[in-house]
Amino acid sequence: MTTATAANDTGPAGVPPASWLARALGFFSGTVGLVIKIGFLAVTNSLAIYAVVVLLTDGHWISGGLVAVATLLIDVVYLGPWHQAVPLKFLVPGTIFLIGFQVVPLLSNANISFTNWSTGHNLTHQEAIAAIEENSLTPPADGATYTMTPARQGGDLVLLLVDEVTSKAYAGSKDGLTPLPPADVTIENGTVTAAKGYETVKGAELLRLDEEMGKLLIPTTGSSFIRAEGLSQAIELQPTLRYVPARDVFVNVETKTVYRDNGEGSYVSPDGEALEPGWRTYIGAQNFKKIATDPLVRDPFVRVFIWTFVYAGLSVFLTFALGLFLAIVLNKPDLRLQRLQRALLVIPFAIPAYLSVLVWGGLLNDDFGAINNLLGVHIPWLFDPTWAKISCILVNLWLGFPYFFLVCTGALQAIPGELTEAARVDGATSRQVFRKITLPLLLVATAPLLIASFAFNFNNFNNIYLLTGGGPLQADQAVAGSTDILISYTYKLAFQAGKGSDYGLASAVSIIIFFIIATISAISFWRTKSLENLT
């Protein structure tokens, strides 16, 4: 009801628009406008300077530089005295946003698609080497554990240790272990609290000791060493792998197995054992090759591709058809409660799509859903491959028709009444009027929206994922279920197949989807142009 009343209020305004518009223009082109402009520019500049400072401190020189250049460009265009620059005032910010939010993500996506970024390949090469070394540390068979107290001996950090088994006390420095005579140490609760010749580290200094303590390795026998583990314990550890920087290989200390860089971000032994973690690196067109050759990716691709077209195409066609039909029906001027009826039809549009899709999932439940219960039938809406496809399209129809209803209502009112009247006078039937006059004129206005809607539904991840999760998965289907569209299939391929996540592969598929949609849109827009020429 409130919606209808609100709609009533927005009738023709009493004030002639030209006069207040003129006044507003006059008001804003003076000092007030200048102040506002400077205000906005100042805020923009402050944010930009903040961003540049943060970016440069983190070493992101390119992005920092780009932000600086873009901001300067905006300043020059807006503050410059030249009048030719007026169109630039609109073009420059628009272009910057286009680059920032469209081109940069696309390029970064393309960049990732040539890497092996995935579970197990998430670090830089240097980080991976450090992590492999760290992971290879193992307590030796007869290795001891100690309680530990950090102390200083003439400025050098020393760990005062008590063997947890033998209760013998030692002082550990970078030169090795020195036994402490029992007479010289005070031990409380198994931990050294004081030792002659050593000054235990206390208070605030203890809080800054982390890095220094982490670097202190107390050598014992062979390649083993004792290292602090936490704040009160130390442990003897032995590396099982050794990194040889000169040859860039890892060698197993015991078996002498050599692990070489395989060029795809892993150190691999001759018999194929890869050390974890690996690192992120460029692997050429491997991901694209995988899409073309891996049966797991290739086999369902065609099936998913066709369904994606059917889903997006039918969604657009049905939402447009229903929206147009309702718009024509409700366009009758003598209709009672016209505004109320229109408002009611827009309700599906007003409810957040996430919510509606989840609610529809409940309504369509086989045994417990309201729809089967009300109809007294047992239709497997979400559990049968064909019905699940129908459900996806029906739910999308519910979500999408109000949009085209609104658009068509607007477009219908913009078609001059004289045209249809003239056609009627010439003896055209209602059907002829609709087909020859109304529809073509309507299409000119709505064709770009139809294309956009197609592109949107082509990538409508939310509806599919929330309603069916791409399922049901048939016994002969590996990754893609019966209702998976390309984008949800990509998601599954990247995050639910193989070994954890595969961002590289996911980016490669997204790039392909981008080219598909770009091609379709380009062709459609080109065709629309010829439509415009017709009329």
Binding site: P81, N122, N135, E164, D210, Q233, D366, D367, A475, A478
Partner: protein, 417 residues
């Protein structure tokens, strides 16, 4: 070239910009006075973690900042987070360990032998990962598993699976419910909640290699023993004992409203069960299915704390390791954290001190359970195994279980490659 007005404008801009730089620069370069340990935890555990961690922090003279995140994002964000905002410690589930360790995001821990002796071997195993040598990557803090919850007003605690089947179907007939057991699936399936039935029919996910570690190439989803028993699934489907249309909210709703007598669920539903007036329940282990020779056991989930690689960069590595590998593994801290959200503590000494009878009952039902595989290949399993159950338990039009599970096995093998 510039008029006065423009010059004034530029001047104003310069002043504002300068002010911002003055404000920003010290903020980005000022050193921290006391080290802060940043912990990522999920909503349910933030209050408990904050309380326990603050006790520790006060004794060490450091501060703790607990950041609330959803469970999923803790795992996902760890892959892409920048060092500045990265956590030093994360609270997570043991089945993440394979992925976060393979990514090099967490570091190994070496608690003392005395501390390790206070934990069941499987809990430590659950947080261990490695292809050749296994390392401990987390301190287990709480155990989590599902158990059989019986509405004692509607039915008796079953003595055998056949007894449960009989009573469940009798209740189904009486209440007119569409299903006998409240076991959740939904259209995507739920391999976790189906596991007691799966293991009871001799199904398993991964076998082990000669070193005793999980072997992703030995998939047991359609092993011969299971396939021999799979016919029972078709019977259960026919008689309406289980249904794939029962999702998490429906299964709970049916049980809380007294439409079903048996509920396969975990401690996360305890508070809702207690809140329901007139509902009397008893929590027990799952009864074994006669004739299979296998036990019906739940998946075991272990929650634990892990130290990230970022702790060293933040200069708090020794503090984080002390908190996780020492303090949090002690009985008192374990009891405080686990009890705060109805979970059973991982430390066995703490486990003996649990007072709540329901939490104790969940602990008892975990005996013989199987830790959820923690290797990254597990991500290939959930969907296929869950869908195999869905295909065979959707009522009319279901596929024979044997065919369905063979399909799942094939698909999993293909994905793991």
């Amino acid at each position: 070239m510039f008029n006065i007005r423009t010059l004034r404008a530029i001047l104003a801009l310069a002043v504002v910009a300068l002010a911002v730089v003055v404000v920003v620069s010290p903020a980005t370069s000022a050193p921290k006075a006391t080290p802060t340990i940043v912990i990522w935890a999920d909503k349910d555990r933030v209050p408990a973690v904050t309380k326990v961690a603050n006790l520790w922090a006060q004794s060490k003279g450091v501060t703790v900042s607990v950041v609330q995140k959803e469970m999923g994002p803790i795992r996902e964000d760890l892959k892409t987070v920048q060092t500045d905002t990265a956590p030093d410690v994360i609270l997570g589930a043991h089945d993440w360990v394979g992925e976060v360790a393979a990514n090099g995001s967490v570091v190994p821990l070496f608690p003392s032998a005395a501390t390790k002796a206070q934990f069941p071997a499987y809990a430590l195993n659950a947080f261990s990962y490695g292809t050749a040598i296994k390392k401990l990557y987390g301190a287990p803090v709480a155990l989590e598993n599902i158990a059989l919850i019986t509405n004692t007003k509607l039915a008796k605690v079953p003595t055998s699976f056949a007894d449960m089947e009989k009573q469940a179907l009798a209740v189904k007939k009486k209440t007119g419910a569409a299903v006998g057991l409240s076991v959740q699936q939904g259209s995507g399936g739920d391999a976790y909640h189906m596991y007691p039935l799966f293991s009871g029919l001799c199904g398993y996910i991964f076998g082990t290699n000669s070193a005793g570690n999980l072997d992703p190439s030995a998939i047991g989803v359609a092993n011969p023993k299971f396939l021999k028993n799979a016919g029972m699934i078709d019977t259960w489907n026919k008689e309406g004992l289980i249904r794939s249309s029962v999702d998490s909210s429906i299964s709970k709703d049916l049980f809380l409203k007294g439409k079903t007598a048996y509920f396969f669920s975990g401690p996360w539903n305890l508070s809702d069960i207690r809140k329901t007036p007139g509902l009397q329940t008893k929590i027990t282990a799952f009864p074994a299915i006669a004739g299979t020779g296998c036990k019906s056991v739940p998946f075991l989930g272990v929650q634990g704390l892990m130290v990230t690689k970022f702790a060293a960069a933040h200069g708090v590595d020794s503090f984080a390791k002390d908190f996780v590998g020492n303090y949090m593994m002690q009985p008192a801290a374990q009891l405080a954290l686990a009890a705060a959200n109805d979970r059973f503590p991982a430390n066995t000494i703490a486990g003996k001190q649990v007072a709540d009878k329901d939490v104790k009952a969940f602990g008892a039902a975990s005996v013989g359970g199987v830790p959820m595989p923690n290797i990254p290949q597990m991500s290939s399993v959930w969907g296929d195994l869950g869908s195999a159950w869905v295909r065979s338990t959707k009522g009319p039009g279901s596929i024979p279980a044997k065919r369905s599970f063979i399909g799942a096995q094939k698909s999993i093998a293909q994905k793991i490659g």
